[in-house]
Subunit: 293 residues, 2 copies
């Protein structure tokens, strides 16, 4: 089997690995995301001698994933110091001359879950991560969503919970979904890290309200066959039944489909690949790049 | 050139026509939507002797557009009397044995605008109609969006305008987008039909607020390369600049793309095909069905 390389480029850490076209991961390393030249040196070191035939990169963003665009392959307007307008694909290609697949970390994870995980065998799915930030990617008709650029689903506005007066943490939008429901919002609203709030804390009912409102919009706009929810906040597994019940309540039976009624427990689910969704997704992006050569 | 048939199946009227694969429409008729057997008799009469090689149907909904589903081709849970669970594709096929394409009216219009209209040459677009109801369809990576079923983008929840206490008209969701911003909501809120409200009436600032909020969600979730706005309410062309300005205000520069900044006037636009978007889209669905045979 061919050896494929994977880079999960996160704002906090990079994970590099190698694997095969069946989604198996045979090796991995992880190191902190510092300055680009330093971080890329680690990337080069890892892949040296690995003889990968393609590399897939799932990256933090915003990025430019549109082939043919002058800034294709760049991390673009990120507020992360040193990384703004950094040509990530170009930096990899400088040293490793193989086909390179490039997309957002969440589009990568959606591809991983679609190919080998919870959405295997379906035609569409959505992957949302709720952690330090909120982002989502989606497969529609077997293809990752692009258009003007890539989706930024974490920044939609959602209706306020009536008991919540928290201002929101998003530097752009204040109280968009990410500003109200990502990990930092939980921590600031309750003055305690989310992981330390007990399952009966009122925080979770508010959290589920915002996430269910987001899922309502995703269902009505994209009609995905499955929604996979990952990220640090979703480790609170008691959130799943709360979100499912609220989503049903919001839909009010308008969309008639068993996935939204009797089978909702298998419609909104945790990642089938667990914490491997991102790295496996990058393997998927590598396989896709190889197939397109 | 081959002759293709088109059916724009609306809740108020049916439009039938014939045209060619270049999107040209060479004949059309229109008749009210009454009971299915009566309306279908008109459809049969129209196509008799026309020798169409395929038929495309863009239909009011909800419908089942998923090939292979037991109710594929049906108008499903519509509240419209007599039409619930009506097998529309089956009724056409009973009398006219040619390939049949079937989708929502708005997916059809999106296809028309993508193939021959305002979004020609692009890879993605969204078409939204604001009229008796609100619905939207979209092309992503050259394909119409399907998943569990078809999108129902008119029913997303949007944030309330601070000056608006109108309860909303949607029988399912009350104050969802359609409940707050479709034609009947305008009429009931102001006790005057929308078409009679002057361009300086405060109605339009509120209307633009809701439509811009919807576009914000569509942009962040789908990243379309163009948004085409049609339907009776959008005949009020003074709405376009209001909506564009509010959309920019909501995005707050987060998505960096010329289409959302300097070029917004050519990003949110009226239909390139005018009132023909729906019928041309049905021609497109017919051409697609023929290509897939």
């Amino acid at each position: 089997m061919r050896v494929l390389g994977a880079i999960e480029a996160g704002g906090t850490k990079f994970v590099c690995g190698i694997g095969h076209e069946d989604g198996s991961i045979i090796d991995r390393v992880s190191f902190p995301t510092t300055r680009p030249e330093e971080t890329m040196a680690e990337v080069y070191r890892y892949f040296e001698g690995k003889n990968v035939e393609a590399i897939g990169i799932g990256s933090f963003g915003p990025i430019d994933p549109i082939p043919g665009s002058p800034t294709y392959g760049y991390v673009t307007t990120t507020p992360k110091p040193y990384w703004g307008q950094f040509n990530l694909v170009g930096a990899v290609r400088d040293k490793i001359d193989v086909p390179i697949g490039f997309d957002t970390d969440v589009n990568g994870a959606a591809l991983g879950e679609y190919t080998w995980g919870a959405a295997r065998g379906l035609d569409s799915c959505l992957y949302i991560t709720v952690g330090t930030g909120i982002g989502a990617g989606a497969v529609v008709g077997g293809r990752l969503i692009h258009g003007l650029s890539h989706p930024e689903m974490g920044h939609i506005y959602v209706r306020r919970h009536p008991d919540d007066a928290f201002a929101g943490t998003c530097p752009y939008h204040g109280d968009c979904l990410e500003g109200l429901a990502a990990g930092p919002a939980l921590g600031q609203r309750w003055q305690v890290p989310g992981a330390e709030l007990g399952p009966d804390h009122p925080a979770w009912e508010i959290e589920a309200h915002y996430l269910a409102h987001a899922l309502m919009s995703y269902v009505l706009i994209l009609s995905p066959q499955k929604i996979v929810m990952g990220g640090g906040v979703m480790k609170q597994s008691h959130l799943f039944p709360l979100i499912r019940a609220k989503l049903q309540d919001l839909l009010k039976g308008y969309v008639q489909h068993a996935s939204l009624t009797a089978d909702i427990d298998s419609f909104v689910v945790p990642p089938g690949l667990g914490d491997n969704a991102g790295l496996a997704g990058a393997i998927g992006l590598a396989a896709m790049a190889l197939a397109q050569e």
